[in-house]
Symmetry: C2
Subunit: 279 residues, 2 copies
């Protein structure tokens, strides 16, 4: 099988490596607007060759869209306009707008909407790793909209890579992603800014690797060009979660102001029950 | 050298293991109010024997206080009342109240106030690990208040374990700890509650290990009995940081509400500069 990866960054590059490593594809073709990314992807062996989008679509059995989420809906339409029996899939973090935009396309059935639940704070082809996805869950959205053969091909790929599959609607996926991924990034960005704000006044903010800070703020290194479109595309879900999160912090603050130790302990004990759903 | 560890939980237990592993002590005596902790500490070989506080003080060259921070000031006074030429040190996360309470004690010089910058979301002797502290920074507070020989002994121990030492006043340490440790815990607790709140309504909150959530919320598993006293003892610094953090989240929310993509990107780019101080 031949695959075309459109957008050879952290996600597309890692997927390209997995397609080769697990013997799924004998040729991987890279497509990217950035000359830097194209050169890096070739030099690092993420792809076998570089092509234009049109050349790649014509040569590939599978077209994988791994660009920032704000570009995916129109890109998906353009690709669907050109495919015949190829399968097209995306790997973006948001799905509602994409699935709505392509819903009436006569070849909608060739498209499979997926969200592999993996990422790091790094970006670009330099950050791609072949074992990125193995063991992680992938969400497939609106599967009834995909042709059975297209769905089956994408399922088989994710199964070979070792990813458990969850099925849900694009609405459910975007809500879920807001809770398990998007809010964590906002919290980290805000935490980094909090510390940077204070650091201007104080000389004693150092050794941030210590005592829990590093893991909580790690995501603040993430790419704004990746995340701004995600937050915008999932705006209403993200705002819901963000309001609830600010509310929880305000409750905590009020208990601390009032020396309500019992309340603090009860609140933290409740938070401890996250163990139940966090493996 | 013989050491008495008062409070054989995550921190005291890990320190006991390090004292043996690095050949610093030939006997480690455990003191703990909890029968469970005493039994676990013996069974797991964290300590050589169990004793009462008075027996342990009489037998030891070094007395290490590793109980919850709200109990340390009075415990430190009681121990100082009984020591002659022994050295006493604590390992708590807050220092101002402790250092103020013991400041006028005639044997204040025997005391060395320290905060090794390490912890996990787990607690109790079961969670103790011998390599906990190696490579981590330790803060020593108000060193001019300690006798030179007492300070030198504690410095030598931390150096043998492989911990870089930073010196600061107890005021500076508490401010620093609020930023690099305490706020991360509050954020994690609040994030866990946000998700648990939503989970009551939705069936689709799952696979929380994915996509960044796990690392941001890990600390929400931490012990309320450890952390409520830390937040209370460092109340004013923690409230300062918490207010700034809520403020940053509110700015983020407003930009998202107004579709201010440029603002969002500029804010995240600023947050990215945390790379500068985060190793």
């Amino acid at each position: 099988m031949k695959a075309a990866i459109v957008g050879i960054g952290l996600i597309g590059g890692s997927f390209a490596l997995a397609l080769r490593k697990y013997g799924i594809c004998d040729e991987v073709i890279g497509v990217d607007n950035s000359e830097h990314n194209r050169n890096e992807a070739l030099t690092r062996g993420l792809v076998d060759r570089i092509a234009t989008l049109d050349e790649a679509i014509a040569a590939a059995d599978l077209v994988v869209l791994a660009t920032p989420v704000d570009s995916i809906p129109l890109l998906a339409l353009k690709v669907l306009n050109k495919v015949t029996d190829q399968v097209v899939m995306d790997m973006g973090s948001t799905k509602q707008e994409l699935c709505e935009v392509i819903s009436q396309h006569p070849r909608r059935g060739r498209f499979v909407a997926t969200h592999p639940m993996w990422g790091t704070e790094f970006s670009g082809p330099e950050a791609a790793v072949s074992e990125a996805f193995t063991g992680r869950t992938v969400v497939i959205c609106d599967r009834e909209m995909s042709n059975p053969d297209a769905l089956r091909l994408v399922e088989a790929i994710y199964e070979k890579i070792g990813m458990p599959i969850k099925y849900m609607s694009s609405e459910e996926q975007d809500l879920h992603a807001a809770y398990v991924s998007h809010i964590s990034h906002i919290t980290s960005f805000a935490l980094a800014l909090t510390v940077l704000e204070k650091e201007r006044e104080e000389d004693h903010i150092f050794d941030l690797a210590a005592a829990g800070f590093e893991s909580t703020v790690r995501l603040a290194k993430s790419s704004p060009r990746t995340w701004a479109p995600i937050f915008m595309q999932n705006k209403y879900n993200v705002l819901d979660v963000l309001r609830e999160h600010i509310h929880q912090l305000q409750i905590f603050r009020r208990m601390l102001e009032k020396d309500d130790v019992k309340g603090l302990i009860a609140t933290m004990e409740k938070a401890n029950t996250i163990k139940r759903i966090l493996k």
